[in-house]
Assembly symmetry: C2
């Protein structure tokens, strides 16, 4: 009986690994270092060794394993090929095929890490119970993942859910990391919020809690919760830009729920409420009531999603 | 052997019906009037009678029919229920279930007409050979259909692919039919292009072919093809707005191809080239090379897509 699955979220420095029941409960999780030397040629063998060790430690037969899901920081084509993965040192490699060979035939599926995290949140996190989810990850940048009918929309060029690079301000003067100007990421990421704050504080303004110490997305939301006027202006601007962008995404993908995650989302319900307010104002009538939820799996979203990848 | 399928595209005045080989060739197509009287209670029985008649005329056995696909002008929920369809007079009805009953068990699937047309263009039209297609219909309004992995993205509220209501200009003063302001439809539909033209011509401008006679999307593109300076300005504005909007859609759905259809698309390659130019300028690097194609099935896209609905 196939009752277990492995989720492997490969990052540039560590691989997070989880052993799961196929029903969604985590049995055990651990980490191993990611060895990126020699074009990362040992990464998959290291993982295979760790998985085999875990099987014998827990006296689990290979026949009890439904499969292995792998998330990685780069695009994965529909045929399983990773054309390039800079952070791991990989060039063109069929990850699922290689892993399956190393694990003597245990079925393996691979996906992009942001997309896999979205799938995890759909399965056991903020989007639990839904089949159509748009996940928005507010971190250093703005990432995303689109899940339609429980499947990742990876896109023809691996750019499905690259919502951080939706143009929201054609008049922006400063360049985004992607080389274009006015991307959502420039306003709604931790870096973006800090920039909005510094711009605001550079102009004449009322005395603010933000005048002292270093400004960050966290300090802005902390001050916002204390009803600081400057922080309110900054958060309203952030929320308007993000809420408007999500209302446009709803005209394409029309999800049941927007799940908001990433470091910035630790600001919690006040952040969600602000974004929701602008979303509802801007949304097309049929999508006005789309739910908003906070991501709930934190850094484990990836390993959850990896397991869900192999359950179809 | 199941070698035939029916496609039924129900409109407010006529139903277009097609008998197809399941390989995609049309055997015969015809129309019957749509009887919307008495809350449209005879629409499905009229269609069933017409299908049965066609079966006996062609000496086709019911066992040879793979199924019946139905397109209709309203939202269709994933469970097959149409909550309401104003143009047909329908209230809450499970169209596929009803039709299946009337046709003694022949499998039936239903979908929204714009989405089904997109599926048809993917299957046998401008998007042939692709699995991920965004169809843009430039008619009186701007419609759309998103196809991911050969399946329609209908959305949780039936608003999947409602790309005409993406907000492209938050500063617009005039209202869209949907009640909001600055929708793509207000600039990229036939009505929108006419409005852009009239606004342009109301200001001081060089002598133009558009100064005489009534202005329409067609007259604008006709003048554009003759290198009329005013028409060039108008078309460039239309193309920039549409191209930019499509570049944002690519950051969500990342299709292999954008298929442009609807009455306005009769302007052909010059229209496609103009939109493509602005798309490539605005697009996120991974999606810069996405293909553009003209829709090729015209009003038959719906019946093609209906048949594809039942082939899975």
């Amino acid at each position: 009986m196939k009752k277990y699955g492995f989720g492997v979220d490969i990052g540039g420095t560590t691989c997070k690994i989880g052993l799961f029941h196929t029903t969604g409960e985590i049995v055990e999780k651990w980490e191993i270092p990611t060895n990126t030397q020699e074009q990362g040629k040992n990464i998959l063998t290291d993982i295979a060794a760790s998985l085999n060790q875990k099987l014998s430690q827990n006296s689990i037969n290979r026949e009890e394993i439904e499969g292995i899901g792998i998330g990685l920081p780069g695009p994965v084509r529909a045929d399983g090929v990773v054309p390039v993965c800079v952070n791991l040192g990989w060039k063109e490699i069929n990850v699922s095929q290689e892993m399956q060979k190393l694990m003597e035939g245990i079925r393996t599926e691979a996906g992009n890490d942001a997309n896999v995290a979205a799938l995890g949140e759909m399965w056991q996190g903020g989007g639990k119970g839904c089949k159509n989810v748009v996940m928005v990850t507010l971190g250093t940048g703005v990432g995303g993942g689109i899940i339609i009918d429980e499947k990742i929309v990876s896109g023809s060029n691996g750019a499905g859910g690259e919502i951080g690079h939706i143009t929201v301000n054609p008049h922006e003067a400063i360049s985004c990391n992607c080389g274009r100007k006015g991307c959502l990421e420039q306003y709604a990421s931790a870096t973006g919020i800090t920039r909005l704050a510094n711009e605001y504080l550079a102009k004449e303004h009322q005395k603010s809690l933000l005048d002292e110490g270093e400004v960050s997305a966290k300090s802005v939301f902390d001050a916002y919760k204390q009803k600081d006027a400057a922080a309110e202006e900054i958060v309203e601007k952030f929320a308007r830009i993000l809420g408007n962008a999500l209302s446009n995404i709803a005209c394409v993908a029309d999800p049941e729920v927007f799940v908001i995650g990433g470091g910035v989302s630790k600001a919690g319900k006040p952040l969600l409420d602000a974004v929701e307010k602008y979303y509802r104002k801007a949304a097309f009538s049929s999508c006005k009531d789309t739910r908003f939820a906070l991501a709930s799996l934190g850094n484990d979203a990836g390993i959850y999603g990896c397991v869900k990848l192999i359950l179809e």
